[in-house]
Amino acid sequence: MVYTLGAAADPATGTGRIHTLITAQGARVTDVDLDSYVADLTAKDLRELYRDMTLVRRIDSEGFSLQRQGQLGLWAPSLGQEAAQLGTARALRSDDFVFPSYRELGVVYARGATASDLVNTWRGERNSTYDPYEINTATMQIIIGAQTLHAVGYAMGIQRDGQDQVAVAYFGDGATSQGDVNEAMVFAASFGAPVVFVCQNNQWAISEPVGVQAAAPIAGRAPGFGIPSVRVDGNDVLACFAAMRWALSQARSGQGPVFIEAVTYRMGPHTTSDDPTKYRDEAELDLWRTRDPLARIETFLRSIGEFDDAFAAEVAAQADALGAEVRAACLSIANRAPIEVFDHVYAEPHSALERQRAQFAAYLAGFEEDAR
């Protein structure tokens, strides 16, 4: 029997209720399914989530500029998705293991990636920066959906080790169309693996609205695979945190996989290569601006007297410092030597590649001689 948290809340429309704890207007509302998961949270915790989101937004804008200035090859903004990313990621234990996609700046930040890691992924010098085992987070995945299977496999490994960590797969609404993501649900359900699927439905897959991918709410797909799911307001950091705690408690206690759809919005372009004015209306963006994840938590905290200008200024200053740190880390990174294209192809000696490497070294040496 599939247990679907709140899925039947709105059977009349079939769209499934979107669980919210703090509305777009900054009001705290009750949700019987989620409330208990955040009962222990203090205003300070919420302020820290605000801080996280603000810092991530600042890194994001810095990354964007660095790309525009030719310092990064590409940038995939997380603007607008801070609540979905931080809310879910901050509910994790450090020994859980996360499989993010390219857009999860906020998740990777929450996992402990350094300032340098956060931007230099896009520098073009290295395909990955941090050591996955140091922050228990895989390299951001570019092949849409591929990481969901890795998460399930990792979770199967956790089961085999008899431990209680959880693997988490992050992906987008577009990714739900990929075979891999559906197979991931099949495997996860078949083995009852401790994995949480976090789908950030940001309404767009490059130029395609979510309706191209899904004729029914995304959260509604998981129960058909035998996976309980929840549809949560992805711009409500508290609801995301609560939903993730619910999901983790299920998965951690041996009840198998869980699926979260965080309904949010990609406020920026798909990447710095994209021009969204070609395919979407400014009016839509305006609407989602009124649902901004940072604004609403600020409004809520102010309304309960837990947020003042001094705090805002402190966080802003911290953000600027982090922005500067990120920029410096980007500009100071050393170039790799041409011969390094051969590094790390294999873990063990490989006769053919060693030969090629030696030949290329000889070729490069010729230039050095010429230069002398």
Partner: protein, 336 residues
């Protein structure tokens, strides 16, 4: 004749082909409203509507597999795979269905698919966006594979591919999308050279330099540079890499006695291996030196800042030419 980029000439070819035959459809990720991430399908949705220009869900197997069904229904789908590195989820449908259905059905079911692929590197892209997977397709019986290198060829060959009753993997070098050339938009397909024929891109006498796609430009640059050193390179643009037009290659190699092949893809079991092997079999007695391959390294496509150490550039090609000519080169005294 009109001066335009290859991107524009491909776009023009799609317009022309869709006007000519209403069974031609365009489908893929972001090909409709956006006009494709490289704008190759720009304007098609407006002119032909959503029935013929289809923004598909994000799933390459789904795109390829539904295109098979559309072809069975008598359509001629032009599929766009957004980047070379995203061909692989569609590989099963490509290899087991697209390539084999005509054979399986004793010729009763045709597969007139054109599979357009923005292809290969040199544009500073992220991982998986600069792959050269063409050897996989060349090794797959049942497919035809072509690679374009200039706006005019692109204009004509895309139409030829669409008109072909066989499935054609149509490779578009990303780094040449913005290269300009003269295009005859009224070119009569019937008069054009068949897409299966190679082209001598530059005649020469000392060594035959065979290539295709994005490397054609680099090869031509190398030929110009070599001329200054008194070496005459004949550059052959294969255009079709499955089948390969060996008559044209033979004619050249039999004159020059020396062969250099260059491509971006890795060397092991690449298209260059095929060319060297076939030329050696066919022209052994004409060869004055061992054929030379100048290719990408056998590594995953490197991060973009290192890609120029991977894609063979003019210097590496000339180094290979020196080797073919028996002149001092980087491998003099180095074990092969």
């Amino acid at each position: 004749m009109t001066a335009m980029t290859m991107g524009k000439s491909l776009n023009a070819a799609l317009h022309t082909a869709m006007r000519r035959d209403e069974r031609v459809l365009v489908m893929g990720e972001d090909v409709g409203r956006l006009g494709g991430v490289f704008r190759i399908t720009e304007g098609l949705l407006d002119e032909f509507g959503a029935k013929r220009v289809i923004d598909t869900p994000l799933a390459e197997a789904g795109i390829m597999g539904t295109a098979v069904g559309l072809a069975m229904r008598g359509f001629r789908p032009v599929v766009e795979i957004q980047f070379d590195g995203f061909m692989y989820p569609a590989f099963d449908q490509l290899v087991c269905q697209v390539a084999k259905l005509h054979y399986r059905t004793l010729g009763r079911v045709k597969m007139p698919l054109t599979i357009r692929v923005p292809w290969a590197g040199g544009v500073g892209a992220a991982e998986h966006h600069s792959e050269s997977p063409e050897a996989y397709f060349v090794h797959t019986a049942g497919l035809r594979v072509v690679a374009v290198s200039d706006p005019q060829d692109a204009y004509v060959m895309l139409q030829q591919a669409i008109a072909s009753d066989d499935p054609v993997v149509f490779l578009e070098p990303k780094r040449l999308y913005h290269t300009k050339g003269e295009v005859d938009l009224d070119a009569n397909l019937a008069d054009a050279a068949p897409m299966g024929l190679a082209r001598v891109a530059r005649p020469g006498t000392d060594v035959t330099l065979v290539t295709y796609g994005g490397q054609v430009r680099t090869a031509l640059d190398a030929a110009v540079a070599a001329e200054d050193e008194g070496v005459s390179i004949e550059v052959i643009d294969l255009r079709s890499i499955s089948p390969i037009d060996y008559d044209t290659v033979d004619a050249s190699v039999r004159r020059t006695g020396r062969l250099v092949v260059t491509h971006e893809a890795g060397r092991e079991a690449g298209v260059g291996a095929e060319i060297v092997a076939s030329v050696t079999e066919r022209d052994f007695e004409y060869l004055e030196s061992a054929p030379v391959r100048v290719t990408g390294h056998d590594v995953p496509y490197p991060p973009s800042k290192l890609e120029h150490s991977h894609i063979p550039d003019l210097d590496r090609i000339l180094d290979g030419v020196d080797r073919a000519l028996g002149r001092p080169n980087s491998l003099t005294g180095v074990a092969l």
